[in-house]
Subunit: 444 residues, 2 copies
Amino acid sequence: MYTSPISSELAGQKVIISGGGIGGAACAVAMALRGAEVELYERAAEFREVGAGIQIGPHGWRMLKQFGLEKEMVDLGFLPKRMVFKDAISTEDLLTLNFDDEFEAHYAGRYLVIHRSDLLGLLVEAAQALGAKLYNGVTVTGAENTENGAVATLEWAASDGPNTAEGDIFVAYDGIHSVHRKRFVDDVPVGSGYVAYRGTSDRSEDTEMSALEDVVGFIGPKVHFIQYPLRGGKLLNQVAVFESPRYLEGLQSDDIPEDWGNNDEFRGAFGHTNEFIQGRLDHMWLHTWWQMSDREPLMEWADGNIIVMGDAAHPPLQYLASGAVMAIEDAEALASYAADAVNSGTLVWSEVLKEVEAERGPRCARIQTTGRFWGELWHVDGLARLTRNELFRSINVTGWTKYADWLWKYDVADRHYIKNPEAGQLPKEIADWRYRVGEIAKNI
Amino acid sequence: MYTSPISSELAGQKVIISGGGIGGAACAVAMALRGAEVELYERAAEFREVGAGIQIGPHGWRMLKQFGLEKEMVDLGFLPKRMVFKDAISTEDLLTLNFDDEFEAHYAGRYLVIHRSDLLGLLVEAAQALGAKLYNGVTVTGAENTENGAVATLEWAASDGPNTAEGDIFVAYDGIHSVHRKRFVDDVPVGSGYVAYRGTSDRSEDTEMSALEDVVGFIGPKVHFIQYPLRGGKLLNQVAVFESPRYLEGLQSDDIPEDWGNNDEFRGAFGHTNEFIQGRLDHMWLHTWWQMSDREPLMEWADGNIIVMGDAAHPPLQYLASGAVMAIEDAEALASYAADAVNSGTLVWSEVLKEVEAERGPRCARIQTTGRFWGELWHVDGLARLTRNELFRSINVTGWTKYADWLWKYDVADRHYIKNPEAGQLPKEIADWRYRVGEIAKNI
């Protein structure tokens, strides 16, 4: 882990960040690594992540490695051998991605799974080691451009602190319910009707899965179920996701119940899946569940010296396992493009922020939309399911990298979408498709 | 073309056939080729086939060649270079089957398209050349087993003829509305809701398609459109098939209009397809259309010395282009199994007929059911369409023969389903699937 900047292009520049999740913390690291002064404000009383495991593809791996975290993330996480998609009814293997040497060579990175809290802890620790100042219990309620930068309005929960924080730029990483996104668009989350149950279990006690070394995804009509190890294999992470019948009924009657996806719906939603999956549901947490939603893509993120990033700009559904990685890519784009500007002669922050927006908007829009498509493909029934299964089996032969390269080979330094505006267009096949849009996700 | 039998095992045996379509005529040829005495009765005043082109895969080619008709069918028909599936919206190529030397070697046969009337004419001519007696204007209203064979009851439309015809066996090839099928099951046709328009045009006038050498199938949501040359390329054959909205509405109200699929529905049903297809619809006949239906598989065909074959036993939807070929396979099974029985020592007709039933029942059931599946796969929309398209593109790489070998490598002489009862079971994936059954096809 780095404890001093790797370069000094941003020395003397001050960055105010709202939000201390994975994205905000990564932004603190990326900026501090170039010598910037960082102040980060997090509303919660401590830095913590809700949820359990997170998957980091090679697109995230390369950046975290560049942040100096390779050894630490491997120690805390788990390197799965494969990703295996199975049919949730028959349990047969459909498609296998081998995370082998060939994979590592192709993507210049590895596939990691790690506990969200562990990853956040690493990033917070790295940011602090680099001199970033991280504050808890502070809500950033607003932000404005100033003559020479931006100023954020602060509300301190417990202690007394200053009412404002001034910097050269203000970066809002304040999540799907972002306050600062309203500067650009007056929209609401789009509910998917799907809800996730999660759970971790100690593999010394939950021995049925003691041999599991893979990320396994059972996909089936209106459900999926994911398993993978965490923390060097000591922990088993499971995610059980289903379409809530009560959500769908609520859509019809325009009265979506607050607790859609609750425990009454949970078990029955998996009644058509294999016995193995039904048995594994015993290990899920019941006290909480995640109603899943995203937002429509947003192409305008920057206003003067203020920018929204991470879930504030592009909350995705989870199917491409790229929500956190996108937030880190945003951070790396911001830091590296600013450093490039300095190296080229002049740093004009408003121009850098527009460059970030131009590069990152199309990238994130593509991930959001493809994620919707990919999720729906997991959940199809009938003839579409049989066709999907046969396609997946075929892809074992034809090769899957052509579907993944756009996602996993991406590097912000390439400015791929700035240089190739057409790359921002969705593949024709997906552009033809229409998302069976849910509705406003209420009460989440 | 043979003019005398190729063997004499069935000399002295007399076969009464009802129905002078392709199946009945093929049965006359197959039996006469083994020396049997054949009497065939056809209700219509002449031997003719409704419709236009028919596709004969290598499974049919091999038998027709064995009937001595190779040169004649090539002269009258057309040997397409490829079968190309295209998307009916984008017109992009999805899947190509090359009918090349490799194909011919793999299947020991070729892929032929021919006018139905031309094929029937060849079979009738061959049967007559072999000494079979073919009668028009005679309806077989019933049949009964006798002590030594079977007797059919005849009704002569114009001329006066005998009231009965006696033979060693009676074979009913009387089509989807078979009288004799009632001996085994009291069922009705199952409507598909799809209707076919057909048309042929002279390629010297319809020059837009003058270069076409392939069987081209445009497949799209609720429609498909097929083109191929006939008669040495002089004629162009086109088939435009769509799901009738009025049929579907009629299903809801339990009042299916007699003329579902009529001209009022025709053009609009293709409104979402490519302009090219919409333009080609100008060449379709409008005075008649075909409401398409099949029946549920039947496993009992034989009762003593009476058997139902062809569409009377197993009317399929048209998607596997195997309706006529199945009828010819039935004929070849009957003739060759009887000849085998003679060569083995004893011919007991009721046993031969049960052997035919045991072999042919599972074969035809599989074709009927797979045909329903295959047709539905052509007509899917949305995500299922995109998945199907990608699967088809993948099959260009992985190879398509694994999907076709069960259909096109089949030879009745192998007694494949008798020897491998499990082969009669549908592939698990298709067995899982449920046909979106239409309804009783009325007024057809």
